[in-house]
């Protein structure tokens, strides 16, 4: 209390402050779930000590897709067209496989207009974090249901949703995604652990984050409201993330924790809650998601992890040098090559 020296802000392992990971001020509604997610993204990248300029932020169209402007101002951003961020990310990935990409989308952007591109992104296993900020509603156009709205959930104007939801986690697993998590904007501890693990994952990491829309979908009868999500959230496990540059020190009782080592040497610790869940089993993940839907349960955590699959940059058999850094003289073949081709056509 007596210190008079100017306060030196804390720095991370590369000497940057938390402020260095921030973006422009949010223009979303006060209390929007998306802003809570943005805070955890900032925290995750700061704590991991990732150099901001190595990151590329991408999004589609919608409230969620505005958020890349609100974090990592030192990273290039690409706010694309509605539902088409996956294709832009795919192109950026093959151009520069060293970019660390994070995509932010919404339920309309992913589950409706962008469902096709989402599927193909996952199928290709484009290395990136793909966050769906899921609120079951179109906010910018004032409250229409999206394709993730639960059956019989009620809109603000009192209309009941008559179509079943698309479960993006189940779909992603079906399509071969190796990192599928579901979380809640109101559960920062779990979310930040999932984000950090996703940042270490080598393929597409899909995070479906329930993110209540305080203006259009936070009322009684909504299954995407803060109240509903808080009451219903059932974590599958407690998540802990130990980055590759930290020593593992914490001991744990045998049989209580599953340790997953990621390709960069980081560890993800899944500590048992009152249920026994094996996140490395695809069959169990699919069955659990289906059962949770039937039981109207809101299960969160890491639903599935499997890092075996080659990512898209690997599949493309590209040079070790990112394509974008290959010099002009290599890109344009020599005159002899043209002469040879011409000769063959004569």
């Amino acid at each position: 209390m007596v210190s008079s020296a100017p306060k030196i802000p804390a720095t991370n392992r590369i000497g940057l402050t938390l402020a260095d990971y921030k973006g422009s001020p949010s223009t979303l509604c006060d209390g929007c779930g998306h802003d809570a997610i943005t805070s955890q993204i900032i925290k995750a990248y700061y704590e991991l000590g990732i150099e901001p300029h190595t990151v590329a932020k991408l999004s589609g169209i919608g409230c969620s897709s505005k958020t890349p402007a609100y974090f990592l101002n030192r990273a290039h951003g690409f706010n694309s067209t509605h539902g088409r961020m996956p294709s832009v990310a795919t192109g950026a990935c093959v151009a520069n496989k060293d970019l660390r990409m994070i995509g932010v989308s919404g339920d309309g952007d992913t589950a409706s207009i962008g469902l096709g591109q989402f599927c193909h992104l996952v199928r290709r296993n484009v290395p990136m974090i793909y966050i769906v900020e899921n609120n079951g509603v179109y906010g910018l156009t004032k409250g229409q249901f999206s394709a993730t709205a639960d059956l019989a959930s009620k809109s603000k104007s009192g209309v009941l949703n008559e179509l079943p939801p698309i479960d993006l986690c189940g779909l992603a697993i079906e399509l071969g995604c190796g990192f599928v998590g579901r979380s809640f904007a109101g559960d920062p501890k779990q979310l930040v652990a999932l984000l950090k693990a996703a940042a270490s994952f080598k393929g597409t990491a899909v995070l479906d984050v329930i993110s209540p829309c305080v203006t259009f979908n936070n009322h009684e009868g909504s299954t995407k409201s803060y109240k509903y999500a808080k009451e219903m959230e059932t974590p599958l496990h407690e998540l802990g993330f130990i980055p590759f540059y930290e020593q593992i020190t914490v001991d744990y009782e045998p049989g209580t924790v599953t340790d997953v080592e990621l390709h960069d040497g980081s560890h993800l610790r899944l500590k048992k809650t009152n249920r026994d869940y094996d996140a490395t089993s695809k069959a169990e993940a699919v069955a659990t998601i289906a059962q949770a839907a039937a039981d109207k349960q809101f299960l969160t955590g890491l639903l599935y992890i499997n890092e075996d699959k080659e990512n898209f940059a690997e599949v493309m058999h590209m040079s070790d040098t990112p394509i974008v850094h290959i010099p002009n003289e290599v890109l344009r073949p020599k005159k002899e090559v043209l002469d040879e081709v011409m000769q063959s056509l004569m």
């Binding site: 690409f78 950026a92 151009a95 493309m316 974008v324 043209l338």
Partner: protein, 612 residues
């Protein structure tokens, strides 16, 4: 169609073939069924004539179908080097029973018809010289393998035609060896088949028609290539880094050729790894999205498509224009609207490409008029895209893209690559300031940075929404107007950078002709025909949009100007009149839009009827 046929017959009956020898000036049409393997035979026929030094061109008129529907392959042999489509057929090889009768009916008197004898086509036209051939019998002689008989029949007609026209047997053999270069046994079988046809013709047919080939020396150093392969080659020499595509006729072979070339010449010699990425997308929306993502990330990127794909790319094309991302988009035009006629040619995407997207949009459009320009403009398009940081359209068409054309050999790029205004770490450090959308140089073109650049000033936010000079979100009226005006200024600047029109100004001409793209072949021939009819013309071949002063000066200098194009609405005419309303009454529009390539006679007859 019925009335059309009658009309053609009437017109034809009036004509007579001059007696004597007609050397190196005729066209051959082979009517077959698609999927029957006739393509190789037709290539052999065409190439063997080319190897004899005689100018030749080939056109494949095919259905949108995999197998079983009628296909026509036309070879035009012309000592003067005209390689446009010629309407009249001199020699018909009628192999397809479905169309043989119609095909024979369309012949002019004195034309030649080679056909299977069992079709008995003599009964239909007695004023045509018929050569009935027992193909079934000959095929049995050429191979014991029943499965191969249908295939070898194609090479038997090559032998028969070669004998009738006096094509060198050695050139036929060379062409076959070349066609089947990796398959020795297939080459042997095909040579045997063509020999079988030739020998039979020698013994059994009495030559009674005027058509002959004779060796010339006009193809030395020349190549034969289709426009799509030429464009693919151009992309490789442009140093393309990322190509994305979705299969669509008639553009698929552009990226497929590119893949072949790149796999051969653009793998790292030490590692065998690619210095490029070519991605087959899930649709055209994704294809252009990927190309934009790659262009934004700093790569030379492209996509290739045709009409329906262009429609799908509209939203992203506007995005690329508004956010200023370099990308090259090839549009190998086919007949629209909708599915249209996917295997027929057209120039009807001119306006949609030029203004593709909602909102005010004008793109730079390149208009190659030959296979050499498909190559050359492909190389150039990437420089223009990166210099102007915008989508560049290269409008080819099915006729140019999918047909084989004779051309001068392509030349190696004489300029180094222009990678445009990119600020790297050092440049940013030196500048001390970076505003993504600021017109620093007064040419409308701002500076950009590449994602991953390690400098605190480097990052900016790309958005399709309203943005100010600092790339920040804005809805301020003056910000929007400034941005839109700067984009227009950029287009103005591009006029000094794009391929200018090629003008042949004839001082004695009252009439001018303006055309673009594949129409060039027919225009060149038509101008000679018009000259023979004492009509002098000047010619401006447009090679890019936006329009430049050359067009204005050209129209001004002539009493009237014919704008010739392959679409219904006179799209180029509309553009010219919109740009230069003062010339509205000086423009005459000639439009050819039946899906077939433009022929010289159409242009000549239309102009004669107006001029006389």
């Amino acid at each position: 169609m019925g009335t059309h046929t009658v009309k053609t017959l009437e017109a034809n009956t009036a004509q007579k073939v001059e007696s004597g020898r007609v050397v190196n000036d005729f066209s051959i049409e082979v009517g077959t069924v698609n999927g029957s393997g006739s393509q190789s035979s037709n290539s052999v026929l065409m190439r063997s004539i080319f190897q004899m030094g005689i100018p030749v061109s080939g056109k494949n008129l095919f259905p949108s179908n995999i197998a079983g529907l009628p296909t026509w392959f036309t070879i035009r042999v012309n000592k003067n080097g005209y390689i446009a489509r010629k309407k009249d057929i001199d020699i018909l090889v009628a192999m397809n029973p479905q169309t043989a009768i119609e095909d024979v009916k369309n012949l002019k008197p004195g034309a030649v018809c080679v056909s299977p004898q069992e079709m008995n086509l003599q009964a239909i036209r007695s004023d045509v010289k018929h050569y009935p051939v027992p193909f079934t019998e000959l095929a049995a002689k050429a191979t014991d393998n029943i499965k191969l008989r249908k295939l070898v029949t194609n090479m038997i007609y090559v032998g028969v035609v070669a004998e009738l026209l006096d094509i060198d047997q050695s050139e036929i053999e060379n062409a076959i060896r070349r066609q089947f270069k990796k398959k020795q046994s297939a080459a042997d079988l095909n040579i045997k088949a063509s020999d079988t046809g030739r020998e039979w013709a020698k013994e059994n047919l009495k030559k009674d028609d005027p058509y002959y080939v004779e060796k010339m020396d006009l193809t030395a150093g020349k190549i034969i290539i289709d426009g799509n392969a030429a464009a693919g080659l151009g992309c490789m020499f442009a140093g393309v880094q990322v190509a994305t595509w979705y299969p669509i006729t008639p553009s698929s072979s552009l990226c497929e050729s590119l893949i072949d070339y790149m796999k051969k010449y653009r793998l790292e010699p030490e590692t065998g790894k690619a210095t490029f990425a070519i991605v087959q997308a899930e649709d055209e929306l994704a294809a252009i999205g990927m190309a934009l993502g790659a262009g934004w990330a700093g790569a030379r990127s492209m996509t290739s498509t045709s009409g329906p794909g262009i429609s799908l790319m509209a939203e992203f094309a506007g995005y690329g224009y508004f956010t200023e991302i370099p990308v090259v988009i090839f549009d190998v035009q086919r007949v629209g609207p909708s599915t249209g006629m996917p295997t027929r040619t057209s120039q009807a995407d001119l306006l949609s490409a030029y203004t593709l997207s909602h909102g005010d949009t004008k793109h730079i459009v390149l208009l190659p008029g030959s296979v050499a320009e498909c190559y050359e403009f492909a190389v150039k398009s990437f420089d223009i895209a990166e210099r102007f940081q915008t989508p560049i359209f290269v409008l080819s068409d099915l006729d140019l893209g999918m047909n084989n054309w004779m051309s001068e050999a392509f030349t190696y790029p004489d300029q180094p690559m222009d990678r445009g205004k990119v600020l790297n770490k050092e440049a940013l450090e030196k500048a001390g300031v970076f505003e993504r959308y600021r017109d620093v140089d007064g040419d409308g073109i701002p500076y950009r940075t590449i994602p991953g650049t390690d400098h605190p000033l480097a990052a900016y936010f790309t958005r399709g929404s309203g943005h100010n000079e600092k790339a920040g979100y804005t809805e301020r009226p003056e910000d929007y107007v400034n941005l839109m005006n700067r984009l227009l200024k950029k287009l103005e600047t591009s006029k000094k950078y794009i391929p200018l029109p090629i003008v042949d100004h004839n001082k004695n001409a009252k009439a001018g002709i303006i055309a673009f793209g594949s129409s060039d072949f027919a225009i060149l021939e038509s101008r000679d025909q018009l000259q023979a009819a004492n009509i002098q013309t000047s010619y401006l071949r447009l090679r890019a949009l936006p329009l430049t002063d050359e067009v204005k000066n050209f129209i001004e200098a002539h009493d009237h100007t014919y704008v010739v194009e392959q679409n219904r609405d006179g799209q180029l005419r509309d553009l010219i009149v919109a740009e230069y309303p003062q010339f509205a009454t000086k423009i005459r529009s000639l439009r050819h839009y039946d899906g077939l390539p433009l022929d010289a006679r159409f242009v000549t007859d239309s102009i004669i009827s107006e001029e006389k």
